[in-house]
Amino acid sequence: MTTIEQLVGEFIDAWNAGRRPDVDAYLLRAEPSERDELAAQLMTWLEIAPTPNFDATTQEAISSEPSLTSALAAAADLRAPLAERLSTLRERAGLAIGDLATRLTQLFELDDEPRAAAYLQQIERNELDERRLSRRLLDALAAVLGADRDQLNPSPMALAGGHAFFRAEEDADEWIVEDIDVLSRAALSPAPAAPMDDLDRLFLGGPDA
């Protein structure tokens, strides 16, 4: 039996017993020339392996893994409305709304900073539908604020609007009536005098604008 067969065999035994074998440790046990082959076999195993049925102590140990707890906390933060996240990132970058508007208009080679600032204010006050923000705008905000792009994704709630996942439980009939009322009024209102310009499209044109 080869070393790789031995190591793969032991790894699978440990995995299935819920002993949480460490991939790095197993790779180190192989000769450098055999590590690629071992890595390939371990990867194949991880693609098809059953999830071990961990005991309570092991489950607790996994739940306390620093990388898991910090990732779950960060994921929860990212589910907060964009309004909250944007103002936090802006303050962290030490920029006033006006500064941010200036940078954005420079970036897109547009003028009308006051209108850009007004839009940004609307985002931070949660008065602008996150789903209408263009990806280009969110990319630009990430670049200006030095933030990770994922930190500026619309919140999952905003993206899932209308999806059965977030089906209403109680007073749906009331808000549906309100929505229909708003939509009816919108349908009866005259169209805006001017078509959207580049700045409007960034903030109101939807993800692909």
């Binding site: 039996m1 991939v23 076999q41 420079q106």
Partner: protein
Amino acid sequence: MAAERDPTPVSRHDEHKLRQFLAARRAGDAAGARWWWDELVRDNFDRVRGMVILQSRGHLSPTEQDEALQRALIKLTNNMIQTFNGTSMGEWVNSAKKLVFGACVDTQRREQAASKRHTAFDATDAEGYETGRLERDVFKALEKRRQEAEHADESAELDADARGFLDWAVPKLSPKRRAVMELDRENVPCEEIQERLGVSRDVVYASRSRALKDLAKLREEYPS
């Protein structure tokens, strides 16, 4: 042969959790769906970490691997819960694998971009007018990366064919390798496999390793 084994009376616990998630999602129970999904993420933490290490070997430093792991876990938690449209753990693991790959690539590109940006800012920090140009460069790079990442996310969802692959590939293994692999995937301890198949531990180990090698080759041939 694994086929001689008594039918398992209860389903695998991870499939059970996935079914609970799917049921909660269908019922519009967002909190319940979130709870079951987080359970799946926790149960599969070691798998995801292992995949990050194996997929990024030689490309990312240990610190960068930690970043990639964070990125993968966040995407699993926030993105895949919404985009996952499979019904089996095989599909779940396959989507997770694609997502891990995207997270590793993304981490590597970010590190490269950060390194370039750092150098560029050092060189022109005193020039106020240069800031806009540099931001434009960073912005363009971010745009490109975003488009690529979106493409990777889409393909992760489209390529949810793990179950199909195994149904196709496992019967192609030799009888002994197939039997060992099927029992392994049912979480049967090595001693019991030896007893059931009447073979030594060395034979079980060798069959496992060879079956995994065969599966890797078969994946390349799999008609997708």
